[in-house]
Symmetry: C2
Subunit: 318 residues, 2 copies
Amino acid sequence: MTAESERNAAADALFRQRLDGVAADMENMLDRLLGPEPVEGERARPARLLAAMRYASLAGGKRFRPFLVVETAGLFDCPRSQALLVGSAVEFVHCYSLVHDDLPAMDNDDLRRGRPTAHKAYDEASAILAGDGLLTFAFDVLAREETHTDPAVRMELVLALARAAGLGGMVGGQMLDLSAEGRFANGEPEALDQSEIETLEAMKTGALLRLACSGGAILGKADRQARLALERYGTAIGKAFQIADDLLDAEGDPAMVGKATHKDDAAHKATLVRILGAEGARGKLAELVADAENALASFGAKADVLRAAARFVAERKR
Amino acid sequence: MTAESERNAAADALFRQRLDGVAADMENMLDRLLGPEPVEGERARPARLLAAMRYASLAGGKRFRPFLVVETAGLFDCPRSQALLVGSAVEFVHCYSLVHDDLPAMDNDDLRRGRPTAHKAYDEASAILAGDGLLTFAFDVLAREETHTDPAVRMELVLALARAAGLGGMVGGQMLDLSAEGRFANGEPEALDQSEIETLEAMKTGALLRLACSGGAILGKADRQARLALERYGTAIGKAFQIADDLLDAEGDPAMVGKATHKDDAAHKATLVRILGAEGARGKLAELVADAENALASFGAKADVLRAAARFVAERKR
C-alpha cells in the first residue's frame, strides 16, 4: 500500500464509523423532536398525524444528508447538537419529499426501503398531511434558539433551505422530472439534452445535498472562501450521487441494489448514463470525486472523512 | 344614530376601503414574488409549476389574513411593505392549504371560488407540488431581509408561522377534521363534544387567523401586553369566523353564499352550531365580537378598523 492509499483506507473506515454514529444520533434526535407532547404555540399533536410523520421519518435511511451537515459543521468546531438539529431539518425535508413522490398521483410506489410507503401504511390523505407536516416542521426546528444562538445564522439557514427545497430547487426538479417522463404533454418522454438533464438533477437531488454541505458552513459562520469550497464540494457530491444512482439502475442486480433496476431504460428516461454511456459516466464520476476532493484542499486532513464520503457516493453498490 | 353607531358606521366604511386596498396591494405583491425570474439560490423556475402556484394564489379571495397583518402591524407604525410581505407568507400558506384540502384524497372538490380547483385546472401531481412549493415559498419570503432588517424578528415570524401551520396547528386540525368525518375508523362521523370541536377549529382555521394578528405584533416589536391583546383578538376572530361559516352552511342560501350549503348537516358533522343551536351560536358570536373589541381597548381609536373587522367576520353573508 502507498501512503496515500493507507490514508484513504483509514479515512474510509472512519467515514463508516462516523456515518453510523450520525445515523444513531439522528434516530434519537428525530424521536425527541417528534415526541407526543405539544410545544409552545401548538395546541395538540393529533395521534394519527404524528404516527404517520414518525413512520415516514424514523427507522430508516443512511442519514447521509445529516452526516454531511455534521461533518461540514465539524470543520468549524460547531457543537454537534446544533449540527444534528440542522441535519434533522434537512432530513425532514428529504423524508417529506419521499412521501409525496411516492403518492399514487406522482410515482405511485408501494414500497420504500422494503416497507409499505406512507400512503399504503396509512392512507393518501394522511400521507399528504404527514408530508406537509414534516416540511413545516423542518422550518420550526431551524427557527429554534437551540439550533443557533444567533438569529441571523438561523435566518440564513431558513432561507437556504427554502431555496433548496422549493420552486427553484427540489420541488421544481420533481416537476421537471414528471415533465421529462411525458406526464403532461402527449405521453411521450421528453428527449432532454445533457444540459437539461443536469439542470433537472441539480434541482431534484442536487439542491438538498448541496444545502446539507453549505448548512455546515452557515452554522460555522465560515468565511466566503470556505463557503464556496463547501458549495463546490456539495455540488460535485450531488452530481456524483445521481450518476451513481443511474449506473446502479442501468447495471445493478436488484438483489444487491435492494430495489428494482432497469427502470430508467423501461421508461426511456433521459439520464446522463444514457447520453454518456456507462464508460463515459464512470469517467465523469471519477472527475467529480476528484473535484470534490480538491474542493476541500484548504481544510487539510480535517476533511479526510468528507473526501471518503465522496468516494463512497461514487462507489456505492446500493 | 348614537355617537357610537356613527363611529361604528364610519369604521365599517373605512374597513371596506382598507380591505379592498390590501387586496389590490396583495395581488401586486404576490405577482411580483411569483415572477418568472429565478432569485439567488434558485436554478430555474419551471413554467408549469410556477403557473400552478400562480393559479392557486393569484386572482381571488378577500385577502382577509393579509389585511389582519397589515392592520395589526399598522398599530405599531410598521412600514406597509413589510406587513404586505408577512401577509404574503400567510396567504401562501392559506392558499397551499386550500389546494391540498381540495385534492381527491382529501375533500375532493372540483370548484373553488367559482373556478376549477388546482388539480382540475392542472392535474393532481402538479397540485400537490404547487402546494408544496407555496408552503416552502412562505418561509422563503419571511426569511428575506426586506421583510424586516432585524433577523430576530424574521426568526420569530418563521417560528410562529411554522407552529400555526404545522402538526400542532393547521395541518393537525385538518387531520382532526378528516377523523371527525369518520374517514379512518368505521366510516361513522365521530360525536365530538364542544371542547373537541373547539380544539379542532382552533387548529384548522383559528391558528392561521391568530398568527395573522400576532404577526403584526411581532413585526412591530410590540411589548408583551400588546402581543397578548392581539393574540386574544385573533383568537376571538378565529372562533367567530368558524361559527359564522357554520351558520352560513346551516342557514344560508347557496346563491347568496356562493357555494353549496347544508353540507355539514348532510355529513352529520359535529359543529358548534349543531351543539348550541342557531340562536345559541348567534349569542356566542356576539360574545366573541365583544371580546375581540374589548381586547383592543388599549389601542383606542387607532384600532377601530380592527373592531369593524370583528363585526364583519360575525355578520358576513358569504
